[in-house]
């Protein structure tokens, strides 16, 4: 729409006059975004400095891509990228589809009481904090007193110190996440399932379709748009993986499967004081997350005409 400059300015003035009060309402939030979200983005230039926390940018040496080089050619690069992708993959293959299955099971239930019970019970763990859930995991898996090992011993097995063996880390983390979030994530799908036209089911019944056929041909297609939206929304988060819980569960002996980019960045920065390398690793991860979100959105737009923007 080509408006001449003068006209554009005039309507701009009009819009300003009609919305200056709104702009004042917007101001606190806007300032917050600038100070606490965008100002740190300027701080990302730390990734290009040999940053010294006491001297600041003026006193630190600009090193170009040196920090990226150190991170990417070092032994931790392959490990952290592989672990990030593997944990994201486990999430994608197990934690993402399970809530959909749960939602279908819930809506297929005939007893209202059971349905309510399942919904309430599966939703509850979401309200328990990460610290407490991780504390439970660590204690349940304790080799001497943990209840899981007690069950294993009951069935004739040997107690294992699961937390120190790298091969157990991903299953432990995935099961924990599943327990914590499956009920929460199923809520959206249950709502979508409730929105499917009942007439479709009645028509299918008249045609003699069985339960599985009805689920396959009506229920699933009915929630595909929701599934796509959730997938696109979560794909960026998957790369960030749950570093808050990984930090609580991992230990040096399980770094080989548990150390992801964000935990590495955290360790390098906050614990080792190597801010340049830590920021470089964090920036690397943030850019990949951004690319994935944009790509996921593009793909979903092409495939299903469902997109977030």
């Amino acid at each position: 729409m080509a408006t001449s400059n003068g006209l554009g300015r005039q309507s701009m003035r009009k819009r300003f006059l009609s919305s200056w009060q709104l702009l004042i309402l917007l101001l606190p939030g806007l300032i917050w975004y600038l100070l606490f979200c965008y100002k740190p983005m300027v701080g990302l230039r730390m990734a290009f400095y040999d940053y010294n926390i006491f001297r600041g940018f003026e006193g630190s040496e600009f090193v170009g891509l040196e920090n990226f080089k150190i991170y990417m050619t070092g032994p931790d690069f392959f490990r952290t990228v592989k672990n990030t992708l593997m944990i994201a993959l486990w999430q994608l293959l197990i934690c993402f589809p399970f809530p959909i299955l749960l939602a279908i099971i819930v809506t297929e239930m005939k007893s209202n009481l059971l349905r309510k019970a399942v919904q309430t019970a599966t939703f509850l763990p979401y309200f328990i904090s990460t610290v407490v859930v991780c504390g439970m995991v660590v204690n349940f898996l304790s080799p001497s007193t943990g209840i899981i090992n007690k069950f294993i011993e009951l069935f004739g097995g040997d107690a294992t110190y699961f937390m120190v063996y790298p091969q157990y880390f991903r299953p432990i983390y995935t099961i924990m996440t599943l327990w914590q979030t499956a009920g929460f994530n199923s809520v959206v799908y249950i709502a979508a399932l409730m929105g499917i036209d009942t007439e479709l089911y009645e028509a299918a019944l008249v045609d003699g379709a069985g339960r599985f056929q009805r689920i396959w041909h009506i229920t699933l297609p009915g929630i595909v748009p929701t599934i796509v939206t959730m997938l696109v929304m979560n794909i960026g988060k998957m790369v960030k993986v749950g570093y808050e819980s990984i930090l609580l569960l991992y230990q040096p002996s399980t770094y080989s499967t548990a150390d992801v980019i964000s935990t590495y960045s955290f360790r390098m920065g906050i614990q080792n004081g190597d801010y340049g390398i830590a920021t470089a690793a964090g920036l690397f991860e943030a850019v990949i997350a951004l690319i994935l979100v944009v790509a996921a959105n593009k793909i979903s737009k092409r495939l299903t005409e469902t997109a977030l923007w």
Partner: protein, 302 residues
Amino acid sequence: MSKERNKGGSGARIEGRGEKIFDIAVTIVGIVLVIICLYPLWYVFIASVSRPLYVENGSVMFRPAYFTLESYKEAFKTPFLWTSFGNSLFYTFFGVLVNMVFSTTMAYALSRSRLLFRKGFTMLAVFTMWFSAGIIPMYMNFRDFNLLDTRTAILFGFAISTYNMIILKSFFEQVPSALEEAAFIDGASDFRIFVQIFLPLSKPALATVALFYGVNRWNGYFWPMNLLTSDSKVPLQVLLKKLLVDRTANEMESAIITSASLSNQTTVIYALILLAIIPMAVIYPFIQKYFRSGITIGAVKG
């Protein structure tokens, strides 16, 4: 879920054997799911009220053995337990207040199509969901503002969650514009329309979002752990992290600890876990319906 309905119900008359098996399978799966979700919590409870010895040797599995409240007595002696509990209440209450002031004002402004540069401002907020500076630059930012080890950092540093703000925005967009226009004709200012019309009309949405913020404030540990260093300022979750995770994670190294004191620790830890869960468990039945509606809106509009 107010509009519960039964998709299989109308098919009852032509129900075959396959359908019956399906129903039984669904019921069994449902019961198993309930047990899997609740058993860990039940175990924490029974272990916390049993004698340490019986927890350690594995005789406590499904019900308490030799009921005792000793572990709770011990747990209550934890230094800074009540301080951190009070801190958590403080951060949650005032934090949510800050969250709501910043989020509602911004969401309201962004919900009005008259707003100058509306698209640009919305993008500015939404972009932070896809790209954020990350842990280290954020930490440095707090350091630059001299906010390390201050309560201000916790209260104001996390004033807006973009996701929650967008939920509020979409709620405000649904308020019929006729109400706003009528108020305008009467000469009301935007501030008045916002406070006297929009806020009262969106009470359910405000409650939902306040609860989202509240649960996150109460449960969060990561930023308080990094930003706060004084024992007198840390919230409960940070204290629990030291007690539950740091202590037990070193079990291998501290295997020399005599078995008596170790088992004692175990039940005390379970008592602490239970104490940490209780506040949430108590309010959970009242807040879960708000959460369900909030999640649904967030997914549709987000």
